[in-house]
């Protein structure tokens, strides 16, 4: 998005489609995990970590953050009450333990006795409440809907009348703080929601700083609070020092961090122009760690001072078929979509486009998610003959010009993708070439991401086929992408991510039961069963060619110790990192 902004936006999805999971009613969260260093050597103190980013941060206010760069800094200076396991995404206690009532409606939290702010004050339930109140007061947050199921939140929050916010209450009735223990509180929901535990992580903000923006008389002052860009009190491993706009964010160690002071003195978030600059900076030693591109991998592996870590991305790149397209009615036929799956050699495409650094996808969930189906799915191995047979079965016959036609209409399609994203542009070209071999008059057409997003989410029929990517982030709930209610409808003026127009009653039911089960069972096993059905339907119907899930390639100086990034978090144990001199 340029590639830069694009990556930020798509990656922003990671922080937003939040996780869920093993939230068994009546279950009890485990103790906070103890990070372990990747080496048995005694960590050395001091030094500085420089992480490279290709986007500057936008804010240091969690309730306003909508991008991954800002989230990185926020996660380094503010701890949440819960966290996701960095490898499998399971929600776990962080600053607080949690339990869920038998009816699945009430979540109880107790904040760790050691959890404190950098000014010495304890982190208490009121701080969590300050965060959720700030969301309620803000006019510019994108998180209001995350709390709509909290009892009394809609009465408290301020917004347009259509949003459901009435602003009539002074408190959020569903949040109860234990009068005997200020570190204990409970949150009552209006309905069972399996993804709720992740949303309820909320934003624990220091009341001594932000409390003044969420008083009864406050309006939306929180949106412009000076502490949003220069915070003063912290609960995370690092303390904010300076934001040199467009250049770097400087954090100093928090010596009073409740999990133990970090080993390094400073953490710098350094903005660079692109991933080529990251690769160069790693080679020169100016950068401690950063993500690299597949095309640079072979070169980086020859650098003695750099170690490469790979892990699977929580997302995938796909080709969507607009099953409602008036110009390509063929996409409405399941056999045609299946033919388009068999008719592209995705393994070869992966080699050509991302140098083999990806895994072929044939359904929605990716292998690192617990919802990834256990039962086998149709792998859609490249089979040109089968693809041609399916097209013939669907009534498409090659004409004298070699192009498939049916009822006098030729099979022509345009695959759009966002311009500036080299990987996707190449994929579009390769896919168009391979589909031409089937007799389809396929073309690729790059288009600016800004315009493309609007067309997709508003259901513009001009989009026939499109390449884009999802970053699935935390929760496995696919409601926003695949539930039929999310299909944009231009006539009704509704928008959504269901831009294939594909719907299936059984799939809707599986999604609903995985999200708001009628029996209240939010256990992993119960939800996984629903997602087996869901993925099987998608696998059979192929509204997307599900493309591939990329590997994330991380380059780091070999001197960086205890560095152990995972699909769900790269900095989960940052306070234990150390620099070997």
């Amino acid at each position: 998005m340029t590639q830069k902004r694009l990556r930020t936006l798509i990656a922003g999805f990671a922080g937003t489609l939040l996780l869920v999971t093993a939230c068994t009613p009546g279950g009890q969260g485990n103790a906070s995990p103890t990070p372990t260093a990747a080496t048995s050597e005694k960590p050395q103190q001091g030094g500085r970590i420089v992480e490279a980013t290709i986007s500057d941060i936008a804010t240091i206010q969690p309730i306003l953050s909508a991008d991954t760069a800002s989230s990185r800094i926020i996660n380094l200076i503010y701890d949440g009450i819960i966290q996701q396991d960095y490898k499998n995404g399971e929600p776990k206690p962080k600053m607080a333990t949690f339990s869920i009532s038998q009816d699945g409606l009430t979540y109880s939290f107790e904040i760790n006795a050691k959890a404190n702010w950098s000014d010495g004050k304890p982190v208490i339930a009121q701080d969590w409440l300050t965060g959720i109140k700030a969301v309620g007061k803000s006019q510019k947050t994108v998180r209001k809907s995350n709390f709509q199921d909290v009892e009394g939140f809609l009465d408290y929050c301020v917004g347009s009348s259509s949003s459901g916010c009435t602003g009539t209450a002074k408190e959020i009735s569903g949040v109860k703080i234990d009068s005997a223990n200020p570190k204990k509180f409970s949150v009552k929901l209006t309905k069972i929601s399996c993804p709720a535990i992740i949303d309820l992580n909320g934003y624990t903000l220091p009341t001594q700083v932000f409390g003044k923006y969420v008083t009864d008389s406050s309006k939306d002052e929180i949106d412009t609070a000076p502490e949003n860009t220069a915070p003063t009190v912290f609960s995370g491993a690092f303390k904010f020092s300076e934001w040199r706009k467009g250049d770097q964010v400087i954090l100093n160690k928090n010596p009073d961090y409740w999990q133990g002071a970090p080993n390094v003195d400073q953490y710098i978030y350094k903005v660079v122009a692109n991933q080529t600059a990251i690769a160069n900076g790693l080679k020169t030693g100016e950068i401690t760690w950063g993500n690299i591109q597949p095309k640079d991998l072979a070169d980086m592996q020859t650098v003695d001072t750099i170690k490469i870590t790979k892990y699977q991305n929580l997302g995938y790149t796909f080709i969507s078929w607009n099953t409602l397209s008036p110009t390509v009615p063929a996409f409405a036929d399941k056999r045609v979509r299946q033919a388009l799956a068999y008719g592209i050699d995705m393994d070869q495409v992966i080699k050509a486009v991302v140098f083999g650094e990806a895994t072929k996808q044939v359904a929605h969930h990716v292998p690192v998610q617990w919802a990834y189906p256990s039962s086998p799915l149709e792998p859609y191995k490249y089979d040109k003959a089968k693809a041609q047979q399916l097209l013939t079965d669907a009534g498409w016959v090659k004409g004298s010009d070699g192009i498939l036609a049916k009822d006098g209409k030729k099979f022509a399609m345009t695959i759009t993708t966002n311009s500036g994203n080299q990987e996707r542009e190449t994929l579009a070209q390769v896919a168009a070439e391979q589909y031409k071999q089937l007799g389809i008059d396929a073309k690729s057409a790059p288009e600016a991401f800004q315009g493309l997003v609007t067309k997709l989410t508003t259901g513009d029929p001009v989009i026939e086929a499109n390449i884009i990517g999802w970053s699935l982030g935390g929760d496995v709930d696919p409601y926003q992408i695949w539930h039929s209610s999310q299909i944009p409808d231009r006539a009704k003026g509704t928008t959504g991510f269901g831009f294939t127009g594909f719907k299936d009653a059984a799939m809707d039911k599986a999604i609903e039961q995985g999200r708001n089960p009628t029996n209240g069972d939010c256990s992993t096993a119960a939800r996984k069963a629903q997602y087996e059905t869901f993925n099987k339907i998608l696998n059979e119907n192929q509204p997307y060619n599900f493309g591939y899930a990329n590997n994330v390639l991380v380059g780091a100086q070999k001197t960086l110790q205890a560095f152990d990034p995972g699909s769900f978090s790269a900095i989960w144990n940052v306070h234990t990192w150390w620099i070997k001199q």
Partner: protein, 319 residues
């Protein structure tokens, strides 16, 4: 002269109004919706949320009304609040301006220090291999794409030789006032930014110097028995430099506007990079503030150039 200045200033007003309309129209009419863009993929983000944000940023008003709001707010000293950063767009731009100015001024200095002597040398050695070499350098300076040269220089001097840094304007952890470190970071980007200017100056100076050397007063100076050095450097060069001096204002503005590519290649946190990223994200207030600022700078610098012309050459009158 006062009338001249006033008249030129009056002429600048419709220009700036025109620029403001074009800037606004291009930013707003380009495809895409900024709210949809920065909320793409946000969990549980509803149509109601979308409408709330549209209203909060004033994007739900008719386009002409948005333009009037924007212009009115400019006169009140605000270019609007960034949709992404939630801060005043112009203030954010000004935070980055010193970085771009540093780069532009140093590049300008390099252009003059290298370009002027090269041009004079080429004129004095007209037809020789030196003249040919300078000409080739000039053509290459124009032809080589800045981004390509920047990357090659990074690989050579930063990655392979490790003599110079590859990114940013200061080594991480160094004090903001570490001048030596700052200079080290500036060498490569400033040189690449200056290259086209060096080629320009050497070409202009060569032509001008040859032109002046052929004039009567130079012949007179020679006939008076003055030394060659005095004739060239005191009499000829002073006259040959007039077009260079008068063009300085415009060139500085062009450097500020043209630093975009260099800022991208060298991760230099300047105005160009910032505005470019804002354009990608459709952050209207920043894009509009950035384009208006650069355009105003350009208009003012042309005004300055005309004034300089009028001062150094009284024959020039305003039309």
């Amino acid at each position: 002269m006062r009338d001249f200045i006033i008249r030129r200033l009056v002429y600048a007003v419709p220009t700036l109004i025109g620029i403001s309309i074009i800037t606004f129209a291009i930013a707003r009419l380009s495809p895409g919706d900024p709210i949809r863009l920065f909320t793409f993929g946000i969990k549980d983000f509803t149509q109601e949320d979308y409408l709330r944000l549209l209203h909060a940023y004033g994007l739900d008003k008719p386009m002409p009304l948005q333009y009037v709001d924007w212009v009115t707010n400019i006169f009140r000293g605000s270019f609007g609040e960034s949709l992404i950063y939630h801060r005043d767009a112009f203030v954010m731009l000004m935070e980055r301006l010193p970085n771009t100015l540093q780069l532009a001024l140093v590049a300008l200095l390099i252009q003059l220090i290298i370009g002027v002597p090269l041009g004079v040398l080429a004129a004095l050695k007209r037809g020789s291999w030196v003249d040919g070499a300078i000409r080739i350098f000039g053509v290459a300076g124009h032809a080589v794409p800045a981004f390509w040269l920047g990357l090659i220089l990074i690989i050579l001097f930063a990655v392979n030789l490790r003599w110079l840094p590859s990114i940013g304007m200061l080594t991480v952890g160094h004090d903001q006032w570490d001048i030596a470190d700052r200079i080290k970071h500036m060498i490569l980007p400033a040189f690449v930014l200056a290259l086209t200017g060096i080629a320009n100056y050497s070409r202009i100076l060569r032509t001008e110097t040859l032109d002046v050397l052929a004039q009567d007063f130079v012949r007179t100076a020679h006939s008076k028995g003055l030394r060659e050095r005095t004739v060239v450097y005191v009499h000829a060069l002073r006259n040959a430099l007039i077009p260079v001096v008068t063009a300085l204002g415009g060139i500085l503005a062009a450097l500020v506007g043209g630093a975009l590519v260099i800022e991208q290649v060298f991760s230099w946190p300047g105005v160009g990079q910032f505005t470019f990223q804002a354009a990608i994200a459709k952050d209207y207030p920043i894009v509009q503030a950035g384009v208006m600022f650069t355009s105003t700078l350009l208009v003012l610098s042309y005004l300055l150039r005309d004034l300089t012309y009028a001062i150094v050459d009284p024959r020039i009158k305003v039309g």
